[in-house]
Amino acid sequence: MDNMRTKENNAKKHNASRLWGLVFGVLFGFLLQKGGATKYDVIVGQLMLSDFTVVKIMLSAVLTGMIGIYLMKTLGWVELYPKSGSLGSNIIGGLIFGVGFALLGYCPGTIAGAIGNGYLDAMMGGLAGIIIGSGIFAEVYPKLKSGILKKGDFGNVTLPQLFKVNDWVVVVPVAVLILFLLIWIDRAGL
């Protein structure tokens, strides 16, 4: 009986936590649309280096997020979830992603926003493409898994761990660097 109740409670907790995903998604989508990041012209404008909206959004998000999350980590409120990687995975995968980023003009998050914004090229072309591309990867994954994807493996390390220093020894200079970069972009009128 108790066991069943625990199971039910766990299922409820699981559903409640999943629903938070929907809440965060609505807020994220709302912000992306207000920022113009759901638009092909804005994203490709960034890649053409003529419109710096996307970089401004990303750098402000990283600056704000980094300070808050490292503060909460220092206080013991949150833990980090760094992704593991390798040179073969992140460099080659990054470049293939970049080609797609420019051809499509949206990324996986902003394409969801673009669909909500009514953009049919995202819905009819891009979404189908991402589904096909992901499916091809799942098909070839066994062949890549222990070869190219493991070349230059460095695990799920963060910069403070890599340099073996206190978190804030990296957080503070990176924060200052991002701030200067943002000011420089703004002053340059980009």
Binding site: W20, G35, G36, L47, G68, I91, M124, L144, T158
Partner: protein
């Protein structure tokens, strides 16, 4: 309320908002904001619909599991949130060919749909190869100072900038 009806907010305000959102997703959900794996799951679910349960045994789908999880709902939420924002400001438009594309390649739907399809395929394939996308690596990963995410984010933009230059300045 007037603020919600504006078409555009300052990119800095939007970025700070996304940063604050990431605090709460770590704190409440213990999840960094990321999107691309959900498209791989959707791909697997579609394949399972046509080819049956055996699809779940593919090594990649064993790793990511074909379930509707927190991230899947996050991606659906993005569609809804963007729709709400666009409707509030009157910025919702059914549009097939974006204007920047049209100025260089013309107004025909087919070339744009083909580029979107091909681009989407590279994007989906590359996101899986790199283990994340512009949100999972580009925002959530870099803000954690993850090495794999900084490398990926830099190469997303190197690949993207080079391809955009070739597409618009050499081909276009």
């Amino acid at each position: 309320m007037e603020l919600l009806k504006e078409i555009r907010w300052s990119p800095y305000a939007v970025g700070i908002g996304i940063g604050v959102l990431s605090w709460f997703s770590f704190l409440i959900s213990k999840e960094p904001i990321s999107c691309s794996t959900s498209f791989a799951r959707l791909s697997g679910v579609i394949e399972r619909f046509f080819r049956g349960k055996q699809v779940e045994l593919k090594p990649y789908y064993r790793e990511i599991k074909l379930v509707l999880d927190w991230q899947g709902l996050l991606v659906m939420g993005i569609v809804i949130g963007s729709l709400i924002s666009a409707l509030l400001s009157g910025d919702f438009h059914l549009q097939l060919v974006p204007s920047l594309w049209a100025t260089v390649f013309g107004n025909l739907p087919a070339p744009r749909l083909i580029s979107a399809l091909l681009g989407g395929a590279c994007l989906g394939f590359g996101a899986r190869w790199a283990g994340g996308c512009t949100s999972g690596h580009g925002i959530s990963g870099t803000l954690q100072l993850t090495v794999s995410s900084w490398i990926s984010a830099i190469f997303f933009f190197i690949g993207g900038i080079l391809t955009a230059q070739i597409l618009f300045k050499v081909i276009g």
